[in-house]
């Protein structure tokens, strides 16, 4: 179920021959699509890492009205079909939508910014759900000890809390990146799929398949597969590191 499909991609791609394969990924449209997918995913993963850690912090450390509702809402992007996310965000960001109508600069559907919004939405829960349990398990004694030894709150945060959250934040970052880079459903709807502008790598694979360019699709897919496997390996390493400390 997993190995055989993987093998099919690799064999098909290697059958293409090196020069054909290189030509297939180095065209301007392919390069721009790969750049948007990877660059955009890195950016959204970074945004989600910062915002996700803040959300996790608020959920673990503070009590405030509506907290449990907020905690449940975090999972919405996982549960919501990506096509629904796509039409909803696209409508909100269209020039006549709730957000797009506020200011022309916010009308981001059919622009690269819209692609980033969709990527951010679908990968939002990863960092929160990775950081939350670690933050919960942090022993207050360690922070108190640091404070007793004269550390100011900012120092406690920078030298005690942040290092213990590092592995969880990186894991969330990696998961968020993997999801964003491969996102199709919401992106294909919000982006308008303009070559050299809003066309992402997964959408390019889809288009090439529709044009019966199976080899061209497979070569791009191989690049994306390699990225997925590398990300998984990184997550595995982080997991092991965390296991040793905890």
């Amino acid at each position: 179920m997993v190995v055989l499909p993987l093998a099919a991609v690799v064999v098909k791609a290697s059958g293409a021959g090196v020069s054909d394969a290189l030509r297939s990924v180095s065209g301007p449209i392919a390069l721009s699509a790969l750049g948007l997918s990877f660059g955009g995913a890195l950016l959204t993963a970074a945004v989600n890492t910062v915002m996700g850690t803040i959300v996790a912090w608020a959920l673990v450390r503070y009590e405030f009205p509506g907290k449990s509702l907020m905690n449940a809402l975090v999972d919405l992007p996982f549960a919501l079909p990506t096509a629904v996310a796509g039409i909803t965000l696209s409508e909100l960001l269209s020039p006549r939508g709730w957000v797009g109508a506020v200011h022309p600069a916010l009308a981001a559907s059919f622009s690269p910014a819209g692609v980033l919004v969709a990527m951010t939405f679908v990968s939002m829960p990863f960092v929160v759900r990775a950081v939350q349990p670690v933050l919960q398990q942090l022993e207050p004694e360690v922070e108190e000890a640091a404070a007793l030894l004269g550390a100011r709150p900012r120092q406690v945060f920078g030298h005690v809390i942040l290092p213990s959250l590092r592995a969880a934040m990186l894991t969330g970052f990696a998961l968020s990146f993997a999801r964003s880079v491969g996102e199709f459903g919401s992106v294909v709807i919000i982006s308008g799929n303009i070559p050299l502008s809003t066309l992402t790598a997964p959408v390019l694979i889809f288009q090439r398949l529709e044009e019966y360019d199976t080899v061209g699709a497979t070569v791009i897919a191989t690049v994306m597969l390699a990225a997925s496997i590398l990300t998984l390996a990184a997550i595995g390493l982080l997991h092991r590191e965390r296991g040793q400390h905890g």
């Binding site: 915002m51 549960a79 079909p81 491969g182």
Partner: protein, 278 residues
């Protein structure tokens, strides 16, 4: 003293809560509310009219079938795979666990492509399937296959985590008391892992319901034939039938909410149950 010593107390507190709430409100609540508003934009009768077209009914049926296929296959596969990885001395367990994550990490379009290369007309098994007159790609089996693949890890991973947590003491006790392997599995392992199976099934159903990328590669998106709900929503939206798209999106959104509620309830139940067991 102790209060002041914890970072995040004092002035930082309202700022952090404010930023967190604002972020979730703009990024989650706003889109969520807008689905309901858009679905009823042309009034209640238009909403129900949009939902009762034959295309929508057929798409809903296909989506149900895909969800059932994913649940049926992955519950069995998940339990067997998790048991094999955690309770037998299988060589290459680490590799298997990593491969199991692949369906989540890989782009759904790439997943669809993989199966196209295997079962498409020019795929590895294409000629064989053609002689047997079996259609997978651009037909229901393709939709099911794609859905099963993208939801492959959910049950298995939940069960793996639980099996690891509960350890082998109970199973060993049963074995020393003379229970056979099958009896131990039926009477000890299965009852112990049932919450994890339920929980994984909910995640599976939620993901299966909304799968778009892999299904759109493998189904061919033939209206009234191989179009699932998410594919219908996309097509309606692209064709400027905005109300129809959002009308179809509304039940899926409600199901997503239901998923989250069930997830929270099960997590609570499972936790209580776990304590009783110990």
């Amino acid at each position: 003293m102790a209060r002041r010593s914890r970072p995040g107390e004092g002035a930082a507190r309202p700022v952090v809560i404010g930023v967190a709430v604002a972020w979730l409100a703009v990024a989650l609540v706003l889109p969520f509310v807008s689905v309901f508003v858009a679905a009823f934009a042309d009034g209640v009768p238009a909403f129900f009219a949009a939902l009762s077209t034959p295309e929508v009914r057929h798409a809903a049926l296909l989506t149900c079938l895909a969800v059932l296929a994913a649940l049926g296959f992955n519950v069995v596969f998940g339990v067997v795979a998790a048991y094999a990885v955690e309770r037998t001395r299988l060589p290459g367990r680490g590799v298997i666990l990593t491969l199991l994550d692949l369906p989540i990490a890989v782009s759904p379009v790439v997943a669809g492509l993989m199966f196209l290369l295997l079962y498409g007309r020019q795929g590895w098994f294409g000629p064989l399937l053609e002689t047997m007159d079996v259609r997978i790609v651009f037909a229901l089996p393709g939709i099911m296959l794609a859905t099963i693949f993208v939801t492959l890890p959910f049950v298995a991973k939940e069960v793996v985590a639980l099996l690891r947590e509960i350890g082998t003491a109970e199973e060993e006790a049963a074995r020393t008391l003379g229970a056979s392997k099958a009896q131990t599995f039926l009477h000890i392992v299965l009852p112990n892992i049932r919450w994890a199976v339920f929980y994984g099934s909910i995640l599976t159903a939620a993901r299966a319901l909304g799968e778009f990328g892999a299904v759109s590669v493998l189904s061919g998106n033939l209206i009234g034939k191989t179009q699932t709900m998410p594919l219908y929503i996309e097509q309606a939206y692209v064709n400027y039938q905005t109300t129809a798209a959002f009308a179809a999106a509304l039940p899926l959104t409600l199901l997503a909410v239901l998923t989250i509620v069930a997830q929270k309830a099960l997590a609570r139940l499972g936790r209580r149950n776990g304590k009783e067991n110990r």
